[in-house]
Amino acid sequence: MPILEVDDIGVRFGGVRALDGLSFDVDKGQICALIGPNGAGKTTLFNVVSRLYKPTTGTVVFDGTDLLSVPADQIADLGIARTFQNLALVQGLSVLDNVKVGSHARSHGGFWSCALYFPQRAEEKRITAEAMEMLERIGLADLADHPCSALPFGTLKRIELARALASEPRLLMLDEPASGLTHQEVDELGDLIRTTTADLGITVLLVEHHMAMVMSLSEKVVVMDLGSKIAEGTPAEVRDDPMVISAYLGAPA
């Protein structure tokens, strides 16, 4: 059963067609990879689902909800979380507080309640404990109180992953989570994504150039080029597809 249905999405930037009639489905609980050469439109699709970009054509349906009628700040409430290719962390907060920002959508209390402190105390405690647990899972508990800057790129990417997981999403969109990691770290990250999302029943949409990771993790691969889908299938099917090979090599095979 599909949880995310992308249908005929088109996005233009001036003369550039970043997405051009892109359609695909992601099934519930699946790890689906979205791959394609640089500039294929993968990040643009993420930004459409996050409601940061407005598509000119098409629809996106998440678990029965028409996403294009939902404002960007309510996407997290629906259970969609993401990480960013080039990071979107809050530099003025500690690592732990960044993860806690992730739980914003499933916590409560506005200015008045926060100003009085006591109404928030129990929830704050719980959120802190859960964020710490998440940092432990990801192996960054030692850095909890560290400012969220001046850390290696790969570490920052993992903090973003922890933040996304802290929202307890149903759909997790990861934009190149392995960039900036060493080979061994990539393997660890792959295991982490597999076990965590399986434990919690999270559906994953994964954009990654690291092919070994894509092939070992995903149950389904969608291949894009120039804003459209050129192939779709299991990792094995896609790997041998002549269209895919030619898109990646830049010339007819």
Binding site: N47, A115, Q120
Partner: protein, 371 residues
């Protein structure tokens, strides 16, 4: 690492000293000094409110003097014309200023940074003119004196409001001092509670990365507007305290200079630290009320220049303010003391990665967008 999150031993000692000083001060100072301390408190509270907006939320306001003034006039009018008892007017001032702040904050949804500074600057500049315009209500350039009906020599007359001490041995200025100290402490406790809560995190998230805030489910526009309102409400409490302390209000007390004074207090003490604005307000107060009058007459007219120079020096040497500088210092010391054993790993990480991380990765293109 744990000590970083809680209050360290050095901090506890400093807090204890501060508390003792605050309690002893009114008993060892002349009454006119005590009045000045109260004025510093009003500035500290208003700067604390401004800090929520400008320090934590990144919206620059050069107009908080006008909100402080609005709070002061609200109190003056309610006490004099509507015969309200004194302390409830403080709450009324907060509510009125909250609403005014929300209205001033509306343009902030469309404009940011320098443009927002200019709009709020206009508000600060216009405020005394508006007050003079509505002279029926505000007393125009002559101002208002806070009066209430009091028993005087056997008959009820309108007389200037007073703070009669109900406690034997406590002079009226000392009594007033402790009431205002109490209000100030409540304001700062509330600010601290907000800052450390989920709302506080969302303020900083909006300041540093709106995209991150939005995808995390934070309603950016709503939060910005309410922050403007809350910040204005707290500034209004500062102004309300001012009116109740002085017993009179006058448009010349709420000029652009006041707005700048508030910003200086925030920056000097430490933007986005809870207690920084209070420390900044006190330092500024000491300079204006204690040091400047002692200067030879030729230098006295140069006080703005001296202050400006000091501010530039502070920006260069301690850009995160006095409290920020102090935090850095204690952290450095505690790291050095912890050196060796398990902690070494963390220290290594921070040191070596300074070179590895291209800071630009974080600053440009935060949302993973292409330009």
């Amino acid at each position: 690492m744990k000590s970083l999150r809680g209050v360290g031993p050095v901090q506890s000692v400093l807090w204890a000293i501060a508390l003792v000083v605050l309690i002893v001060l009114p008993f060892t100072s002349a009454p006119f000094r005590v009045e000045q301390y109260i004025t510093w408190m009003t500035i500290a509270v208003a700067a604390g409110g401004l800090n929520l907006l400008t320090g934590y939320n990144g919206q620059i306001s050069v107009g908080h003097g006008a909100l402080y003034g609005t709070g002061a006039y609200t109190v003056a009018i309610l006490v004099t014309d509507a015969e309200w008892p004194l302390l409830p007017t403080v709450i009324a001032a907060a509510v009125v200023c909250f609403m005014v702040g929300v209205i001033i904050g509306l343009p902030a949804l469309r404009i940011k940074g320098l443009y927002l500074a200019l709009v709020t600057l206009a508000v600060a500049t216009l405020f005394p003119l508006v007050i003079e315009q509505f002279s029926d209500l505000t007393g125009g350039s002559g101002g208002l004196t806070l009066t209430s009906e009091q028993l005087y020599r056997g008959s009820i007359r309108d007389r200037r409001v007073k703070w009669e001490s109900p406690i034997d041995g406590l002079a009226s200025d000392q009594w007033k001092y402790f009431i205002f100290l109490g209000i100030s402490i409540v304001c700062f406790v509330v600010i601290a509670a907000i800052v450390k809560s989920r709302v506080g995190r969302s303020l900083v998230a909006i300041r540093d990365n709106e995209t991150a805030a939005e995808v995390s489910g934070i309603n950016v526009s709503r939060t910005k507007i309410i922050t403007f309102g809350v910040s204005a409400g707290i500034a209004g409490i500062g102004g309300a305290m001012f009116a109740l302390n002085k017993g009179q209000v006058n448009p010349t007390s709420f000029t652009l200079t006041l707005s700048i004074y508030l910003l200086v207090a925030v920056v000097l003490g430490g933007a986005s630290t809870v207690i920084g604005p209070a420390i900044g307000a006190v330092i500024y107060g000491v300079f204006i009320d204690v040091i400047a009058p002692e200067l030879p007459e030729t230098l006295e007219s140069a006080t703005p220049l001296i202050l400006g120079t000091l501010l530039v020096a502070q920006m260069l040497m301690a850009p995160s303010g006095i409290v920020g500088w102090f935090h850095d210092l204690t952290e450095k010391v505690s790291r050095r003391r912890q050196g060796g054993g398990k902690q070494d790993k963390n220290v290594d990480v921070t040191v070596t990665t300074h070179e590895v991380v291209a800071e630009t990765d974080l600053e440009t293109d935060p949302g993973g967008f292409h330009p």
